[in-house]
Symmetry: C3
Amino acid sequence: MPKTSPELALLPTDPHVRDVAFDLYGEVADAPIISPHGHVDPGILLRDEPFTDPAELLITKDHYVTRLLFASGVPLAELGVGPDAAADPREIWRALAANWHRFAGTASAYWLGYELRTLFDISDEPSADNSDDLYDRISARLHESSFRPRALFDRFAIEVLATTDDPLDDLAAHAALAADPSFTGRVLPTFRPDAYLDPEADGFGDRVQRLIETTGQPTSFAGYLQALRTRRAHFVGHGAVSADHGVYEPYTTDLDPIAAQTLFQAARTGRLDAAGAREFRGHMLYQMAKMSVDDGLVMTIHSGVRRNHHRPTFAAFGPDTGHDIPVRTSYTENLRPLLESFGTAPGLHIVLFTVDETSFSREIAPLAGFYPSLYIGAPWWFLDAPDAITRFRSAVTETAGFYRSSGFIDDTRAFLSIPARHDVSRRVDASFLARLVTEGRVSLPTARRIARDLVDAIPREVFKL
Amino acid sequence: MPKTSPELALLPTDPHVRDVAFDLYGEVADAPIISPHGHVDPGILLRDEPFTDPAELLITKDHYVTRLLFASGVPLAELGVGPDAAADPREIWRALAANWHRFAGTASAYWLGYELRTLFDISDEPSADNSDDLYDRISARLHESSFRPRALFDRFAIEVLATTDDPLDDLAAHAALAADPSFTGRVLPTFRPDAYLDPEADGFGDRVQRLIETTGQPTSFAGYLQALRTRRAHFVGHGAVSADHGVYEPYTTDLDPIAAQTLFQAARTGRLDAAGAREFRGHMLYQMAKMSVDDGLVMTIHSGVRRNHHRPTFAAFGPDTGHDIPVRTSYTENLRPLLESFGTAPGLHIVLFTVDETSFSREIAPLAGFYPSLYIGAPWWFLDAPDAITRFRSAVTETAGFYRSSGFIDDTRAFLSIPARHDVSRRVDASFLARLVTEGRVSLPTARRIARDLVDAIPREVFKL
Amino acid sequence: MPKTSPELALLPTDPHVRDVAFDLYGEVADAPIISPHGHVDPGILLRDEPFTDPAELLITKDHYVTRLLFASGVPLAELGVGPDAAADPREIWRALAANWHRFAGTASAYWLGYELRTLFDISDEPSADNSDDLYDRISARLHESSFRPRALFDRFAIEVLATTDDPLDDLAAHAALAADPSFTGRVLPTFRPDAYLDPEADGFGDRVQRLIETTGQPTSFAGYLQALRTRRAHFVGHGAVSADHGVYEPYTTDLDPIAAQTLFQAARTGRLDAAGAREFRGHMLYQMAKMSVDDGLVMTIHSGVRRNHHRPTFAAFGPDTGHDIPVRTSYTENLRPLLESFGTAPGLHIVLFTVDETSFSREIAPLAGFYPSLYIGAPWWFLDAPDAITRFRSAVTETAGFYRSSGFIDDTRAFLSIPARHDVSRRVDASFLARLVTEGRVSLPTARRIARDLVDAIPREVFKL
């Protein structure tokens, strides 16, 4: 085998370990993709229209990329970000090409390089010199029918793709896709109620009012809970398997109905202080677990991010523009009320995601090593990268093994990056397992089984697929 | 040398580094075991009765094992855990065998594999297929006289074994062992006063009353301190070298005698609020350091664990049932009052243990790199595993070297796992040292000296043996 | 190539990766040293007198060394530390030699070994046996003219050296050096105003009064700000490029002028409580950023250290005596007020340093991956060591690449250790890059460019040199 080639990318350099890793990777290299949590718009599969241009496809919608270009001095507006963006896509592409060396070593550079190589037969590194040439070569491909979203969905061998959706979404796109005989993929909605549970979210009162009215409930805490239950049932009816919760902290608390009703009335009328808002959010996360016990939706918790850190950028360009910044996160005490009530409830599945990697060995693995309901979420966001995934496996495996982890989650809105991300995960897991094999800690047959289960049996079990 | 064999387990895969590691490991592979902190019941050595069955020996008493089986769906009662457990040991063993792949990569799997191989000549991985066969093979051995506890104690080459004991324990088992001419091992008690120092512990008031009455002291804070001193002296008289402190946080504070007396009276009568209880605990940890200055007992501090996280399980099955979960831990500010008073006191030894590995490089190594009294405790509990030990050495050595660390502590109640745990530590330390040698950071002769000192001179110095 | 030699020190052991690392290291091994932040006294270059003796040169002034000797049982006074120290330098050297094994694996041992080898042709490890011989060999060299500070400055190929200075320093030493035709090096002052910004610093009121009087300002908050601006201008006039801020926490806040004036008056008269002092410090860090926007001084923030942890030692021996201990540090919420106001201001450069390595992947890299003003500071203090630097690159690169990091900062008061420290950084960065190259994540040409930029273009850009 050659010393460095795309085939061997991310595998260990030690020849003996690399051979084992290559063997294990071979078990799963071509396995179908199960993507139980992500942010792809189902409409692109429903409409199946060609992608517009290389910038829209690879840059503008990917805040991993625009953020680092912005930090490097390129204004967001020149990257096509924001409501009034009118940048020339060729110029956007040039900005990336000229700054390509600034991405060296990042996960984004690896994913983009993988996409250029596997989809567009481009192995040159982008640069100011070849920028226009690459742009033209990519553009030409985008008009081929094999580059339509559905063709790529098949080519990527995506077996299940979950989207993320507003509780009041009618899920018409999902229904139409499911009813379309020419599309055989499985595209599932995910219930994401954050904006209806956080009294400090912009427009909370109006949104809750709409939720209550849409479902024909009375304006009370009980009516609000029933409205949420109704919408969850709507999602379950359209194939949803999970509900997703993006919270600042994983604080939970059980409140008596009168206290909850009082907080609810203050919340919906905008009269709740910060401490009250925290109690309300903590109680609603508790209530969501209770509903999951009843309706079976897997509960995913993504916590520990200060969203929209730079308010002036948020005001001008909106959310998801690159300045959501992690904070320290603690699970042990915060989740205790929820887990004391529901942690051993039959059938409940909760997947914990973090961007504070200190919690992997300290809290998440010990918790998932006891509570049957808890699973260790795959490394999320800033941690979805080769070295971080390696640290993750090292941090959790010695306490909880492989079978308390969730399997890989791409969590992406960049459709084209899905195969790249899953391939990275498979390579890194194979490398980690190969080290355990060569260090005499796991037998090769068991490692092969684990490698396969991590991309198949485990996500199916965790997400009830 | 073959590429993978039990002999080379856990050693680096790079052939050049592995040769150095194998050399260093050879220095200590057969060295006697010094175990200055653990939880083995001295009665098993006193009575020297055969172990009952494989489940009792390897599963039921090991909450590292039962916890992951519980998380995997096996009820605790079916694992023989709890006061009313009446499970068939063969069924318990079957539960482990059928779930063996779920332990792959964990420290427990490595230890159990080591025990099966070295004690029972079993190198097959347990599985549903071979479960009964393995059970029978282990059972047969347990009746041989060479598998009695004392025979194993000799075979394991245990030179010193410390137990952990209640302050009111009469230490009769220790006295009997010491007086028994047919047993030449050194088995030392350890003073563990947590339940007498924490006003929030169940039954605190009654327990303190018993302490005071037993020692003939007046019911006052001064009498309480004197009672503790008296019992420490009893332990010293029976060979104890250390006092162990398991605290939620390492908070310390000095209080004036009147404030302490006031808190004491409220504490023993159950009238102390949470803030007061914290002050009382913080002051008692401070007082324990003061007593250690006087009587010379080494102070070990194990902090940062929320014990009995799931109260329903605690209520049904008792403590040490797998749901003690770590929390974030800070030492710098919390220990400052204690260290300002006693940190440079001649002869005081304090060993800091943590399950929050972020504190290794940030706090514990810098503290132990200055205070002559402070030693860095070996990786504890969830961190007592090959990768975690490697991270530990990497985190502390560059700041504090090897000689401010404590030497290995097995901290186990699983008697059979003692050699496995020490062997892992010796292999991982040899591997870490071998990397420093091959990277030109430590000379080979110095590395050899360090390898030997880590299992001999260092624990003897730290624990005053 | 031989398997272990000083030439290959710190490079990866895998032969293939090592070859790439050796190639990359070759790009920068002899590059000039840019040292934009440190604590060397400019007077030693101005006076250019011989160093007194080996102890003064290598031990007494280096609190990394004296601290670990103190922890090992050597009293500080016997190490020549403190105002009344009168220890025999030969005895001090003997203390280090006899305890040399206790430094094995530390950064200090590596630096000292490098200095002994490259400057004094000593490759033996110090020990009790050879202590006097080594002392004599070093002493002999110190009288050679090639060991004068200026000759070493040239030999070290130091292109830029920044010192750290009190705001009221007249900077006469810097001016004299700049005016000296026989010295062609660039030695820059750095504005370090901590003691004038922290109401809890000893002598704060008097110091602020002197600042205000020296600059002819009125005793008001506005006058105080103007006084600081005036002194910053004085530093800019003497070539300063940065202002350094050593804070306990990176808390920032914007206050209205009346609130600020009220706090200021309470602060300078010693009537501010702890909460008020925190607000004042937080507002002054905010004001410093504002001034940096105006005058262009790069802002370096070194936060998260409890200075002078052991007050009895501080009282007897003064500051910088080895017991500054890190604490947990958070940037995301603390810096938000500052960043919302100035984070995207043109020309502002802020470099964040930490001794809490958990913040690298969680906060610092994500922040620097968005804000154009923010750079990731090189691993600082306890983290300036081979393994810690490797962990640092692994933690930040996947999120923010190499070009959002600051380049190496030695931050030392040990003049002789400057080349050793920069060499370590170059070797470790080359090793990290070599792994990315061999894992197919960065091309070799790009890695070569990055290696060069890390020691040249990047520090020049970040520090506006």
